[in-house]
């Protein structure tokens, strides 16, 4: 079988061969038994393919498509609300912290004695609250871990957890699969 002529056969089956190419093909087929047999086989295959039916879509396919789109829109809507809610919550927290700092600064400037007493009490309270951290630091230091390494590990772990949380929130949720008819 000659490959240059099988190319012509393919073109001929697609009605893309011109008259000269068709003449060349038929002339070759008259003298080449292998290609003539292949041509007969290709024509038979072509006929089988052309006779193969276009399959009908399953019933209610259009309805299921529209249902899948509706589900997708609902999910997008709620994801949008979740994102907006988180942003508003972040703004509120940041606003409260800013107001507290500004208010504290103003109060400290106008009442320096009270402010110094309050700061002292806050430092004592903080020191009491943070004793587990201090103890952990002492233990790590005695185990040979430098404070810098401890802080770096703490920040790394915190960043990792924050990253996982953000990924969970913003990751693209898979579209819900509407019922698919199974013939198995």
């Amino acid at each position: 079988m000659h490959s240059e002529y099988t190319e012509l056969m393919s073109l001929a089956l697609d009605h893309e061969a011109n008259a000269a190419q068709m003449d060349a093909l038929h002339a070759h087929l008259r003298g080449c038994a292998g290609c003539a047999a292949a041509w007969a086989r290709w024509q038979a295959l072509d006929a089988r393919f052309r006779a193969a039916p276009m399959l009908a879509a399953p019933p209610q396919l259009a309805e299921r498509v529209l249902a899948r789109l509706a589900t997708r829109r609902r999910r997008r809507f709620w994801r949008g609300w979740l994102g907006a809610g988180l942003f508003i919550a972040w703004l509120a927290v940041a606003g409260v912290i800013l107001l507290a700092l500004l208010g504290g600064a103003w109060w400290g400037l106008t009442h320096p004695l009270h402010a110094s007493l309050a700061l002292s009490a806050a430092a004592r309270l903080l020191s009491g609250v943070l004793w587990p951290v201090r103890s952990a630091g002492v233990m790590l230091t005695s185990a040979g871990v430098s404070p810098q390494a401890g802080v770096a590990a703490y920040l790394g772990l915190t960043s990792l957890l924050c990253g996982v949380w953000v990924w969970l929130v913003i990751r693209r949720a898979p579209l819900s699969r509407t019922r698919v008819t199974s013939y198995h």
């Binding site: 190319e7 089988r48 193969a52 276009m54 399959l55 529209l66 698919v180 198995h184």
Partner: protein
């Protein structure tokens, strides 16, 4: 029997258009049907859900046929057809006026099927195995399988399934949609000579496999 005034034109309209002419548009010619689809596309782009629904109804058969011919499994083909329409909806703004709408939809479907076949990560079956027999459920045949068996066409689907995805698409678009080399090239995003080459190789492979069987 078709009602009076209904005509079925087998040539030169492609199979999907023949179906549409029988099913919905009766005497409407191909150009008018295409113009109607473009109008629906425009309306869908402006957010008209009903117009998009009409597009889905118009294209569900050609899209399902393509996904089935590509994937060979009825349930997977239906899921792929649904996903094709969802992608079509999200890509409505990318439709370029002047392009045949059906060619655009088939491009989305064929690219999705190729992606899906890649994700399957299957080892291509050897020529001694019969992929159609594996892909088509055998215990309780569905309507597609029944139709295929009834008409003795399982060997056609088996031959398609033995081809690599890159060869399946041009063959399917050529035989079931009667697209020209240029239209197949546009649909697949390759050149017309590449389409010619792939169709040639696909036919070579099918002929060799037929001989082997």
């Amino acid at each position: 029997m078709l009602p009076d005034g209904w005509t079925v034109r087998l040539k030169p309209l492609p199979a999907w258009c023949v179906w549409m002419s029988v099913k919905t548009v009766s005497s409407m010619d191909h150009a008018a049907a295409e113009a109607q689809e473009i109008r629906w596309l425009e309306q869908a782009r402006r957010g008209d859900q009903a117009a998009f629904g009409r597009l889905v109804e118009a294209y569900q058969r050609p899209v399902y046929n393509l996904t089935y011919r590509m994937l060979g499994d009825p349930a997977e083909a239906e899921d792929a057809a649904q996903e094709t329409f969802v992608r079509m909806y999200t890509k409505l703004h990318t439709y370029e006026p002047g392009r045949k709408p059906v060619s655009w939809v088939l491009a989305i479907a064929s690219h999705y099927c190729i992606d899906r076949l890649r994700r399957r990560r299957v080892t291509w079956l050897s020529l001694d195995e019969d992929p159609a027999a594996m892909a088509l459920p055998s215990r309780r045949p569905g309507p597609e399988e029944a139709a295929l068996r009834q008409e003795g066409r399982t060997e056609v689907q088996a031959a398609v399934m033995r081809l690599a995805p890159g060869y399946r698409v041009p063959l399917i678009l050529r035989y079931w949609y009667d697209l020209s080399y240029e239209e197949i090239a546009e649909t697949m995003g390759i050149s017309a000579p590449a389409v010619k080459s792939r169709l040639h190789r696909a036919r070579l492979q099918i002929a060799e496999q037929t001989l082997a069987h």
